[in-house]
């Protein structure tokens, strides 16, 4: 096809095209001769008018387009500027305001595709000309289209029942939305349930968390699924379907009232299995409840420890005592269920760094060495020692060393700062000092107390007589002479000397890492991870709880290490984003769907099986495409042997004209 016969018009009549070349300040005009580009465009067939302007996206820039449409009767618009991701919507809206169908528009990206990636002005300008020519040729074939409106399912899936998930779920449920809260452990509560006090105000973690856990249990809009994991999700924003795996608890959740009598009568007189909630510092029976305030208040059976599971010859005293309610069911198996939701909040939390990875600190090898999370349990009144700080040998510590940055700020483990360890170390220093009056040494590299009331808290702990030593401990080793103590060897960098300090107890301030299976979660929900393995937000400043997948939001430490106040703030933000989506009622989707030209369809069904979104049905000998489900991937268009499937915005003539335009000078 030559330019001459094109100018004679096409099926859409003789289009009157306006071309607008944007300077983008100097982002484009420094590398592309925008005046020359305008002149070239002016002489393309069908072009009535061509302009260049400093900022096309500005209000005056948009006004120019609207005025030209009205005054010159333009019916096709081409804007050569930045990426359509940024301003396609801006210009479509302007064109609609001007009285045209917004899809009589083609955007040309001469910034990301030309000015930003080239240095040679002449070559970059030539490339811009080619791209503009392609758009001018294509836009003549555009047809009037309408955006698809898809309703939003108001139900929300919250993945992870720590404080982030709990807060998101409650916010949404209070706003009247149905929430499915999925938690893989037997109880919600997450790490926060394990803490004793919270910094810097020292309010008791359980006192502020458990009321929220109870609210979750009682809330008519929240369905809690514990011992469950999301294994599969499909659909798109507003219309997701999630498949959830439920691990067997061997207890009928609805029948169990949490009387705990079964635990008392278990044939094991004492616990034999390390208690997960107390990090192995105590033992539990094979039938147990994770912790006293667990939600749901339902016991569970660990088949690894239960005699009935191991031998099948247990007296089953638990079943006897539960005869009235009959809640114990040894035959339970893994089950799956499906939920339909419109949006997802991911709040899968973190994993504490495994201190065994740094053998120089002796964790797991030297008895006096504990991790911070273990000490939280030791200090806690419902912990393994009922709040008494006693060492593994039964003695009370007189000298305690706290080592910061274990598994943080270290290229051999994690480069990032875990953000919470300085403050929780100071908190533990205070709590241990309060309970034992021990002499306490804090070994820090940099004291990071940026937060409301944090610096004041550090000063308070200093006033209480805790010794601060600037320097990371290099090695922990047993003191000579079998004293049971260990020596901390570190350079006191303020004094410029190496010091050796024998202590009775060492607390390792272990850092925050992504969950071990964060990669699986990332894959399931089609979101992305940063290099450290934490989930990536859509924009670090302006979209901190959104992801690159519409309708999937992030909250809490799965996105980056953060403390409880920040986690709760983020959880609220994620809930608000989900609410904004839900209350809009519907979303508009690109009308780039495929459609069947019925007269030409031979009913061969090739397309039906190929569609990745199951959007193609078969009706009276013809294929039919459900345009709500169609995502515009184009697979069926390419596969149809009779060429009877076409796609909006990607019609054959549009694509071929674009190619001809780009190749005109080759």
């Amino acid at each position: 096809m030559t330019e001459a016969n094109l100018s004679a018009g096409n099926g859409n009549g003789s289009p009157r095209i306006g071309v607008y070349v944007c300077h983008c300040g100097t982002n484009i005009s420094a590398t592309i001769d925008v005046v020359a580009a305008r002149d070239v465009a002016e002489n393309l067939p069908g072009v009535v008018l061509s302009r260049e302007y400093k900022y096309m996206c500005s209000d005056p820039g948009q006004e120019i387009i609207k005025d030209d449409i009205r005054e010159l009767g333009l019916d096709r618009i081409v804007v050569a500027s930045c990426s359509p991701c940024l301003h396609e919507e801006t210009f479509r809206n302007a064109i609609a305001d001007g009285g045209l169908n917004p899809y009589f528009f083609q955007m040309v990206n001469i910034r990301e595709h030309a000015s930003w990636v080239h240095k040679d002005i002449k070559a970059a300008t030539a490339k811009a000309n080619d791209l503009i020519r392609a758009a001018v040729r294509r836009v003549r074939f555009h047809r009037p289209l309408e955006a698809r409106r898809v309703p939003i399912d108001p139900r929300v899936l919250v993945v992870g029942g720590g404080i982030a998930g709990i807060h998101s779920a409650l916010t949404l449920a209070d706003a009247g939305k149905k929430v499915y809260l999925v938690e893989r452990e037997p109880s919600i509560g997450g790490h926060m349930a394990m803490f004793d006090k919270t910094f810097p105000t020292l309010d008791c973690a359980a006192c502020i968390l458990t009321p929220k856990m109870t609210q979750v249990r009682a809330h008519p809009n929240i369905e809690v699924m514990t011992m469950s994991e999301v294994v599969e999700i499909d659909g798109f924003v507003g219309n997701y379907r999630a498949k959830i795996k439920h691990k067997p608890r061997y207890i009928l959740e609805d029948a169990c009232v949490g009387c705990l009598e079964c635990i008392d009568v278990c044939v094991f007189r004492n616990g034999k299995t390390p208690d997960e909630f107390n990090l192995g510092l105590s033992k539990r029976k094979p039938i147990y409840i994770p912790f006293p305030q667990a939600v749901p208040q339902v016991v569970l059976i660990d088949p690894e420890g239960c005699i009935e599971f191991r031998t099948g010859r247990c007296k089953k005293t638990c079943v006897e005592v539960c005869a009235e309610r009959n809640a114990i069911d040894f035959t339970q198996e893994e089950t799956f269920s499906e939920v339909e939701i419109g949006s997802v909040i991911i709040s899968t939390g973190f994993k504490a760094f495994d201190a065994r990875r740094l053998p120089q600190y002796g964790y797991g090898r030297l008895d006096p060495v504990y991790t911070a999370l273990e000490v939280e349990r030791l200090v806690n009144a419902s912990g393994p020692t009922e709040g008494e700080i006693v060492l593994r040998d039964g003695s009370k510590p007189k000298k305690v060393g706290i080592i910061h940055c274990i598994g943080s700020r270290d290229k051999n483990t994690n480069v990032h700062c875990s953000r919470v360890c300085c403050m929780y170390s100071l908190k533990l220093a205070h709590l241990v000092k309060e309970k034992t009056d021990a002499e306490i040494y804090e070994f820090f590299i940099d004291m990071r107390t940026g937060g409301k009331g944090f610096e004041e808290f550090m000063l308070r702990v200093k006033e209480e007589g805790v010794t601060m030593i600037r320097g990371k401990v290099a090695e922990v080793y047993p003191e000579a002479g079998n004293t049971g103590r260990v020596v901390l060897q570190a350079e006191d960098t303020f004094l410029g000397m190496v010091r050796k300090i024998p202590v009775d107890m060492v607390i390792l301030a272990t850092g925050i890492e992504p969950q071990a299976d964060a990669e699986d979660v990332r894959r399931t929900f089609n979101i992305s991870c940063s290099t450290g393995g934490f989930f990536t937000e859509r924009h670090p400043k302006l979209a901190p709880v959104s992801t690159f997948t519409d309708g999937v939001f992030l909250a809490g430490a799965c996105q980056a290490p953060k403390d409880i106040p920040d986690t709760v703030a983020q959880a609220g933000a994620a809930a608000a984003e989900a609410l904004a989506l839900i209350d809009a009622g519907h979303i508009e989707l690109e009308p780039n769907t495929a459609f069947v030209v019925e007269e030409e369809c031979s009913g061969c069904k090739t397309c039906v099986g190929l569609c990745p979104f199951s959007a193609i049905g078969y009706d009276e000998g013809k294929a039919s495409i459900n345009e709500v489900l169609c995502k515009g991937c184009g697979t069926c268009v390419a596969a149809c042997p009779s060429g009877s499937i076409r796609q909006n915005l990607f019609e054959d003539e549009e694509i071929f004209e674009e190619i001809v335009g780009v190749m005109a000078n080759v």
Binding site: Q360, C405, R409, K411, N412, A474, Q489, A490, G496
Partner: protein
Amino acid sequence: MTTEPMIRSESDRDPEFAAWFTSLVEEEKLRECIHCGVCSGNCPLASHMDLGPRKLMALSRQGFAEDVLGSNTIWLCTSCYACTTACPQQIPVTEVMYALKRRAIETGKAPSRHPVPVMAKGFTKMVHKRGRLTEAYLIAGLALKSGITRYIGMVGVGINALRTGRVSLKLDSIEKRDELSRLLDAVDDHSKEVSVR
């Protein structure tokens, strides 16, 4: 009691030395030190060092060449690599120590009678010249140049070593010594151009 000046003025800094130092390791890694002190804390000889590795590197980065090259720290380093393996910033401290030792010797800042640089110089000189070491002469040279009195107590050990054939008085060397010399000179020239890693 002598009083060391504890103040340093900007004129004490040698920018060329600082630039040379930071270029020793790629990607300016030496600037990434977070001063955690694990290198000094791990060093088995830190107790005898005037500076220790952390301070030594801090002074080097700032260009205080006199303090660095005149310190005993570089000569006490036994290259056990304890600092390097533990460094959270993965700084090759031991390699940097070697570079500083070489620089001290090349610029004449090495203490003239300290046994470590004397031994190092005697060792390389003998290898360069003869291609083999003859310990008896190496030790004799060390004793003469670093103060013979401190070796008097070890004479008995020396005699025993000679008697049992552990060391020999026969000066050993290889054939084609000039070829080895040329080879080693070429290596020296090359190593001046590349960083420690």
